[in-house]
Amino acid sequence: MKLYEQTAVALAGMVRAGKVSAMEILEAHIARIEQLDPQLNCFTDTTFARARTEAAAVDARVKAGEDPGPLAGVPVAVKNLVDIAGLSTRAGSKIYRDAPPAKADAPVLAKLIQAGAVLLGALNMDEFAYGFVTENIHDGPVHNPHDLARVAGGSSGGSAAAVAAGLAAITLGSDTNGSIRVPAGFCGIFGLKASYGRVSRAGTFPFVDSFDHIGPFARSTEDLAIVYDVLQDSDAHSARPAINPARIGILGDWFQEGASEDMLDALSRVAKGLGATATASLPEAKRARAAAFCITAFEGGQLHKQNLRARAADFDPATVPRLMAGALMPGEIIYQAQRFRAWFQSQARELFARYDLLLAPSAPVTAPLIGQKLMNIGGVEMPVRANLGLYTQPISFVGLPVVNVPVVSSGMPRGVQIIAAAGQERRALAAAAQLEAAGIVAAPVASF
C-alpha cells in the first residue's frame, strides 16, 4: 500500500515506530498534490515550506526518543475559513482575499499540529460556506475524485475531495447545514459533525452562529475518533459503547421522501448492517428545514451587511441574493424560527428516549454534475444548490452529532448519516466502526 493510501493512524504508527519518516510521508503527499490537484482543484493555498519544517521537527522528536504525538507525521489540510498563521483567511471570497494575514493558527489547527500533524495548505469551499456544491466563482469548482465531471459537494468540497483522492489523510471543514455530511457522502469518505458547541470555532470565519460546527474528514472511523479526541483534548477514543439494534431508528417521512433508489438502498444496507428494523419519526422536519433555511440567510446577511452595502458586486453571484434577502428579513420570521427550533429540539429529545441512534441518507441523490442547475427530487424539479441539504438541515438545526458513513458502492459514493443524541458522538462512531469492520462502509482512495 502506498503512503498516500494509508490512514492517519497507520501513518502515525509507522512514524512513531521509526519505520518511515514524516518527511517521506510529506513528500509522497506533495507529489500526489502536484500530480492531481490541477485536475481536482482542492487547494487554494499550499504551505509546503512550513510542512517541511513541521515534518523535520517530528522526525527530530522521534530520533530523540520523545513522543511525537498521536498524529505524528500525518499530512492535514484545512478549509480556507480556518486561520493559518501568515495567510489571509478568505472563506472562499474575493472580498477577504487581501485581508491581513492571520496572526496565529486557529486552536483546532494548533491542536492538530501539536499532536504531530503536518499542514499541507488551505482548501477550496463555497463562498462564505453558503452552498452544497463548491462551485466557487473566484477559485473554480472542486471536481469529485470519483468522477471529475461531478461536484464534490459543499461547502467543504475541497476538504472532502482532498481526503478522497489521497492528497491528505485528514482535513478539517465546517458544517452549518450539512457542509461536512453532504461532501463526505458525495466523495465516499467519513465525516464527523460533532454536537453543537463541542469543537472550538475560535479562529474560524463564521457563517451562522446558531448552527456553525467545525469537524474532520477521514478515510477510517479510527482516524475520525482520534482527531475528534485531539480537537477536544480527550484521549477517550478507545471507548466504544455497545450498539443495541433495537434502539436504532430508521428515519422515515421527510428523510426518505424524494430520495433516489440508490440512496434508499444505501440506507437499507446500513440499517441491515446494524440490525435496525424500526422506523422512527422526527415530526415536522420539513418545517425545521424551512426554519434553518431562514435563520441561515438572516444571520449570514447580518454578518455580511457592511460588505453587501459597499461591495455587493464582489460576492459570488450564487451567494449574494440569499444573503441580501436574508439581511432584509423581518424579525418575526427569525424570532418564530428560533422558537420553533426550541420546540423541535424537544421532539428530538423525546425520540432519543426511545432510540440511541437514528439513520438517514446524507443527501437525496448522488453527486450532481458540475454546472447542473436542477435535479429531480420525488418527481419535482428543484434547484441543486439550495436543496442538497434537505436531510442534513433539520439535524444541524438542533446540533446533533452525526457521522457520515460511505456505503460500499460500485457507482458514485453514497453517504448515510448516523445520528446520535447530543454529546453521544461515541455511539455514532461505534456504529460506524461496526459497519466498517463488516465491510459495509469503507473509504479507499479514489482512483481516476
Binding site: A290, F293, M324, A325, L328, R339, F340, A386
Partner: protein, 60 residues
C-alpha cells in the same frame, strides 16, 4: 403575499436599512426573498406552546 407585495416590502426594507440592491441582482434577490417568505409560512402558522422560548439564550 404576492410578487408586488414582496417587491414593495423589499424596497421599503432596503431603504430603511440603507442596504441598496444593485439592479444586477435585484431579480434574484426578490426570488430568494420569496422562497424564504414561502418557507416561513411553514413554521409561522405552526401552533407553539406559549412558554416556548426562542432557542438562543443568554447564559450569564
Amino acid at each position: 403575499m404576492n410578487d408586488d407585495d414582496i417587491s414593495a416590502y423589499v424596497d421599503a426594507a432596503s431603504a430603511l436599512l440603507d442596504l441598496p440592491i444593485p439592479e444586477a441582482i435585484r431579480a434574484e434577490t426578490l426570488n430568494a426573498f420569496k422562497v424564504m417568505q414561502t418557507l416561513s409560512m411553514g413554521f409561522l402558522d405552526f401552533p407553539l406552546p406559549e412558554e416556548t422560548e426562542a432557542a438562543p439564550r443568554f447564559t450569564p
